[in-house]
Amino acid sequence: MAINRRQFLIGAGGLAAAASTIGLSACAPGAPSGSSGGGASGGGTNLALAWWGNPTRNKNTEAEIQAFQKANPNITIAGQPGEFGSYWDKLATQTAGGQAPDIIQMDMAYISEYGNRGALLDLAKYGADTSKFVEGTVDSGKINGQLVGVNAGINSAVIVANPKIFEKAKMDMPDDKTWTWDQLSEVAAEVASKAGVPFGVEGNLFGADPMFGAYLRQNGKELFTEKDVGFEPADAQAWFDLMMKFQKAKAIGTPQQISEEGSTGGGKPIDQSAIVLGKAALQYYNSNQLEALNAASGESFKLLRAPSLAGKATERKAWYKASMLWSASAKTKNPEAAVAWINWFANTKEAADIDKAERGIPPNAELQEYITPKLSPAQQEVAKFIADIKPELANTPIAPPPGGGKLADILFRYETDVLFGKTSTAEAAQKFVDEVKSNLQV
């Protein structure tokens, strides 16, 4: 017995006060009149645009909306800024109520959650233009062959290094083109003991899904396949065993210290992170966070590649990650206008002038070249890094299937279980795979 949303909402009785029922049914598919976000009024087109961010991004986005409206006088955009944590709760409830914003800033972890359930617009159908995008940057937004998200900026998972701590330890910076996972452990243990810091490399390295993903890819596996987990318990056990090796070598700090720093999703904000406070020589981050890290610490951190198994960066199977994507609601009344915003953001110098590399390096090759000289020193370093790793790229990993977006939280939880000796690496690996599988909704 399946009930559609409209019947359900009316049937739910309490929620269906006369006024709101009219409002909700107006948003149901095929309803003739305009919805809250997308209706036509005053002869122009109104769009709602939701994003999460930080103060810089909020300012940029407001300026971008102004510039876009100037170029497209018949489109008006109402911004809905938010915080990453609460953004997804809000988006889920808005979508459930048929009130999703027309334009949605999307994350890789959630794109198939929405895309696979038909909540996102096929952007290619309405003329989304990704013709100038660098290879490998378009695929991340494809779900079931439909383009439901356009890459808003390129990222790569990196290990950020604090050169001051290496100086203090009287050590050279490691050669990230040749280092292996074992060498990372040795370097981290040495720098931690010589410089007297708790973390050689901060321990969430092993709770970070891009790092685990890199390790898996080098072993010929993936985090996810289209409908399943892409690795075996044995692979996860190897990862946990590697972590215990790091821990015994005193490269990643004590279990308590690792637990206190927290996971990627539940961890400390950038300005209190271990590397910013001088407690870690190395720490996992995404490349676009370098500027924020430098700003918070007053230092000039360096970007290092993730290690490889073979000791050759060209075999490390790197990939360009979309720091975020632009999506549109499948229920928008104005798909053309929504796509017009996305095209404007992705392909015009005007947009790049405002956004610079705050959302990541532009995937559009021409814009990359155009904007690089205008970037801050930190952003220029990021742009150079992104360009440098091009020969090291392999295929782009697919987005996690629905229910797979919480992998990092689960991984970190089992990491702490193992570190605190609550379970063996073999048992943790089995439970970890079981739990990720049972969460998938495919």
Partner: protein, 318 residues
């Protein structure tokens, strides 16, 4: 309402003939109508804000509902899945420890402070407010954040311990052995509202009982056991029931102290926090609704047991 019912009582006494009875019934009906009319704002609120969502969530608990797609009826599957969900069992364990340890300790502290304040010291109003303050703040995000920092490895607690020469480096919130206890401590610290109720209860006990007991040579401890406890037992019972119901629903502290993860290692995975993770984090609103109904059943069972046991220890005599 009470004025209206008093009026009816007066009529009832007077009504003797059938004529009067009919008249009385008519008036009563009119009174009832007026009563319901005055109740209407509350009734509408109850129907729209409480009953409607309540029924909806019961329905959702039998569905697979991702928030994005329409709910699909799956019968009892959500409830069946609960039986072998290890995290659900962990969250029950955490919540039961919190309730069974936290609530009695909090009530003991509340009663002790209330008895101190009842001694009739100077500036009572001031102290009462000061002690009440934590329960206004305890469930707030700000206090939970401060709590988190106090119990970190370089937090206030360890700094104070170091002043006394103890080389404390333990991160109390980051170790699965201790994290839950810091939250239980936070719960105990918010003893204000049961304290105020205890204080009011203590004021009701006539002083002459104590005077008589003193004359008979009863010790303070005997007075407490034989006079204070029995006469205060209805108040203790009230506080116990209320605090148990509240404690089962604890959310904010756990959410903030663990940054929403229930960590470290699920050691602070409160039931409501796990419910929230399932509903909003994993888009399994059907399962979350089923969890909510299990919580209703658990709380109802605890309350029923409380009322049953109250026969054996609560003293309502005059």
């Amino acid at each position: 309402m009470s004025a209206i019912s008093e009026l009816s009582t007066v009529h009832r006494v007077k009504a003797k003939t059938p004529e009067e009875k009919r008249l009385r019934a008519k008036e009563a009906a009119r009174d009832n109508k007026a009563g319901y009319l005055f109740l209407l704002p509350w009734l509408i609120g109850l129907a729209l804000i409480v009953a409607g969502p309540l029924i909806a969530s019961l329905y959702l608990s039998f569905t697979n509902y991702s928030l994005i797609q329409a709910p699909q009826w799956i019968g009892l599957e959500n409830y069946a899945r609960m039986l072998d969900d290890p995290r659900l069992h962990q969250s029950l364990k955490v919540t039961f420890i919190y309730v069974i340890v936290g609530v009695p300790l909090q009530l003991i502290v509340a009663l002790a402070i209330a008895m101190l304040l009842n001694e009739g010291m100077k500036g009572l109003a001031f102290y009462r407010s000061v002690f009440y303050l934590p329960s206004m703040l305890g469930a707030s995000v700000a206090i939970a954040l401060i709590w988190r920092q106090m119990f970190e490895s370089d937090g206030l607690v360890n700094q104070v311990l170091r002043l006394f020469g103890i080389p404390a480096t333990t991160s109390w919130i980051a170790d699965p052995k201790y994290a839950l206890w810091t939250i239980i401590l936070l719960h105990i610290w918010t003893f204000g509202s049961p304290m105020v109720i205890f204080l009011a209860g203590l004021r009701q006990i006539p002083g002459m009982y104590y005077e008589a007991a003193s004359v008979d040579g009863a010790s303070h401890w005997a007075q407490f056991r034989k006079i204070t406890l029995p006469l205060l037992s209805p108040i203790i019972f009230f506080n116990l029931v209320l605090q148990i119901i509240n404690a089962f629903q604890a959310f904010t502290q756990a959410f903030v102290v663990s940054n929403g993860t229930g960590g470290p290692s699920d050691s602070t995975l409160f039931y409501t926090l796990y419910l929230y993770q399932r509903g909003f984090g994993q888009f399994q609103m059907g399962y979350a609704a089923a969890m909510a109904w299990l919580l209703v059943v658990i709380i109802a069972a605890f309350t029923a047991i409380n009322f049953f046991l109250s026969k054996y220890w609560v003293f309502y005599g005059d």
